[in-house]
């Protein structure tokens, strides 16, 4: 099996804290991988290094067999590695349309002419498709900070979708969503997973068990267990460290 994404002995230190310690993670193409663990386990730090937000202290990262350890974030996005923030990070002062248009136009901006005058209809089609798939098509003209919190989360997801993800990293996407919205989001993630690989950080175990093909458990900066959802749910180490049962 050749991994889509692989980290080798990846570490991040913040001062005296080993936020992530020598993590070896392999994600296969097409899977939905859940990353779980208690608060402070290093999950967000780990994916931060994968998407290029944070520079690792040591270790290496490979995507499709090529090393991307020191590649800047915008180059990683071009390779299809797309990250959605745990804390909603939309452009609050801009309309929903503009929020999604920014990633949507990325692939169309080739050559100088397209940078100056892009056929806006091509961008609009992509924006509309992304907003449609999260159910926000009707809100396109609304300023992003006028949206309800749950809808802001969905907008964040629409921005990621507009970037054509090959590896979509979702950092606690269900946080703050109502039950009905969570169900809707799960359906959406399944749809995305038909074309892309998904790396999902999630606290809601129902979501993890229903979506994930494999689950990786982190604690104190290291991977403590990995397996199918059923294996993980029955693992005594995991139950002690995380599920609290």
């Amino acid at each position: 099996m050749s991994a889509l994404l692989e980290t080798r002995a990846l570490s991040k230190r913040f001062g005296g804290l080993n936020a992530v310690h020598e993590v070896d993670l392999q994600v296969a193409p097409g899977e939905i991988r859940a990353l779980i663990g208690p608060n402070g386990a290093g999950k967000t730090t780990l994916v931060g290094m994968i998407c290029g937000r944070l520079a690792p202290t040591s270790g290496r990262i490979f995507h499709r067999g090529e090393e991307i350890t020191s590649m800047p974030p915008w180059e990683r996005l071009k390779r299809g590695i797309v990250y959605t923030f745990q804390v909603t990070s939309i452009f609050k002062g801009l309309s929903c349309y503009e929020n999604v248009a920014l990633p949507a136009q990325r692939k169309l901006m080739t050559g100088i002419a397209a940078r100056v005058a892009l056929a806006e209809s091509a961008v609009a089609t992509r924006v509309q498709a992304a907003l449609d798939s999260v159910g926000l098509a009707a809100e396109a003209g609304k300023q992003a900070d006028q949206l309800a919190y749950g809808h802001q989360r969905l907008l964040e997801l629409a921005m990621a979708l507009a970037a054509d993800p090959q590896l979509l990293i979702l950092d606690e996407p269900t946080q703050g969503l109502a039950e009905a919205e969570i169900a809707q989001l799960c359906d959406l993630v399944r749809t995305i997973a038909r074309k892309a690989t998904v790396l999902l950080i999630e606290h809601n175990m129902d979501v993890v068990l229903s979506l994930a093909s494999r689950v990786t458990v982190m604690d104190a900066g290291s991977i403590v267990a990995e397996g199918t959802p059923a294996e993980i749910a029955g693992n005594p180490v995991v139950q002690k460290a995380y599920l609290g049962r």
């Binding site: 974030p73 452009f91 920014l102």
Partner: protein
């Protein structure tokens, strides 16, 4: 933006240019010259606004770019006998080079640090213009009258002392720069610049190398400021160190704030408003800066978005 909305936006800006063109036939001579001056200075403010209003970088060193354009155009006229088109091109080129070199160094910083660095560079530039006073004549400056060859339009010679040339030269520059800024604002690149202003880290994670875009914005901003400086030198026949001083870095900031940062027509309104406010106030009192200060306080306290920013927020949300 839909075609209809696009048509409305371009229609408005072309209409403004048309009104300014028509105004030259009705304005009294005094205001005729003033408006020509305002138009050139507005281009300076337009350039400033690209950086502050559409990219979110506040500079206190733009006088360096204005003066680079001014010296870049004026010195070749004075010493080498350049004609106006060549001098203008030289001025703009100088602005681009200075802004590019400055950007490569200064854009490693952001926020207040960028502000201070830009101020430092501009001060060094100002002091250099005094230091080399054998060439620049420092504060005293160079008078270009008589050095600059008249332009020829279909066999007619038009000298640079002609008010019509001043007005229409200024208007042509303004129209080109206004529409150019508008196109930039509405382009995909403009969308990236605004995203950087709103949230730079997010923009990087959405696939854009923000440094390159900021550098581009700075170079465009510097080129516009230099075009204004060069045109000012040619039309008003004077090149001097005063234009490189800190005061000339503060002016475009004030004009942009007054008119509304992040609006295309704001710089024109802000420049005109301030110009006439100073003009009127200095007619009443020698303490005219006091009046200017009060006006600024009123604006900052009650209209923090500036004239056009307020209009956009309340009535015309489609204004770019």
């Amino acid at each position: 933006m839909s075609d209809r909305a696009l048509g409305r936006v371009f229609g408005l800006h072309v209409a403004v240019i048309a009104v300014l063109f028509a105004a030259q036939f009705v304005l009294p001579p005094y205001d005729h010259t003033n408006v020509a001056r305002i138009l050139v200075l507005s281009v300076y403010a337009l350039g400033y606004n690209v950086l502050l209003g559409y990219t979110g970088l506040m500079s206190l060193g733009h006088a360096m770019f204005f003066a680079a354009g001014m010296y870049g155009a004026g010195l070749p006229v004075y010493y080498l006998g350049f004609g106006a088109p060549g001098a203008l091109a030289m001025g703009i080129l100088c602005g681009i080079v200075v802004a590019g070199l400055f950007g490569l160094m200064a854009l490693r910083t952001s926020g207040v640090a960028f502000l201070i660095v830009s101020l430092m560079f501009a001060q060094a530039f100002y002091l250099a213009s005094l230091y080399f006073n054998e060439i620049t004549l420092g504060d005293q400056g160079l008078i270009l009258s008589g050095k600059l060859a008249a332009l020829e339009f279909g066999g007619t010679q038009v000298g640079f002392h002609e008010p019509a040339l001043k007005y229409n030269g200024a208007l042509l520059l303004f129209a080109v720069c206004l529409l150019g800024t508008l196109v930039l604002r509405l382009s995909p690149v403009g969308r990236v610049l605004i995203a950087i202003r709103e949230n730079e880290e997010r923009t990087r994670l959405l696939g854009y190398d923000s440094f390159r875009y900021k550098l581009l914005s700075l170079v465009v901003s510097g080129a516009l400021a230099a075009a204004a400086g060069a045109t000012y030198a040619l039309l008003f026949s004077y090149v001097g160190s005063t234009f490189a001083s800190i005061l000339f870095s503060i002016y475009p900031l004030l004009w942009s704030l007054l008119g509304g940062i992040g609006t295309i027509l704001g710089p024109l309104l802000g420049t005109a408003f301030m110009f006439y406010l100073v003009d009127l106030a200095s007619g009443w009192t020698s303490a005219y800066l006091f009046v200017v200060g009060v006006a600024l306080l009123v604006l900052v306290l009650w209209f923090p978005r500036g004239i056009l920013g307020t209009v956009r927020a309340r009535w015309l949300p489609w204004l770019p």
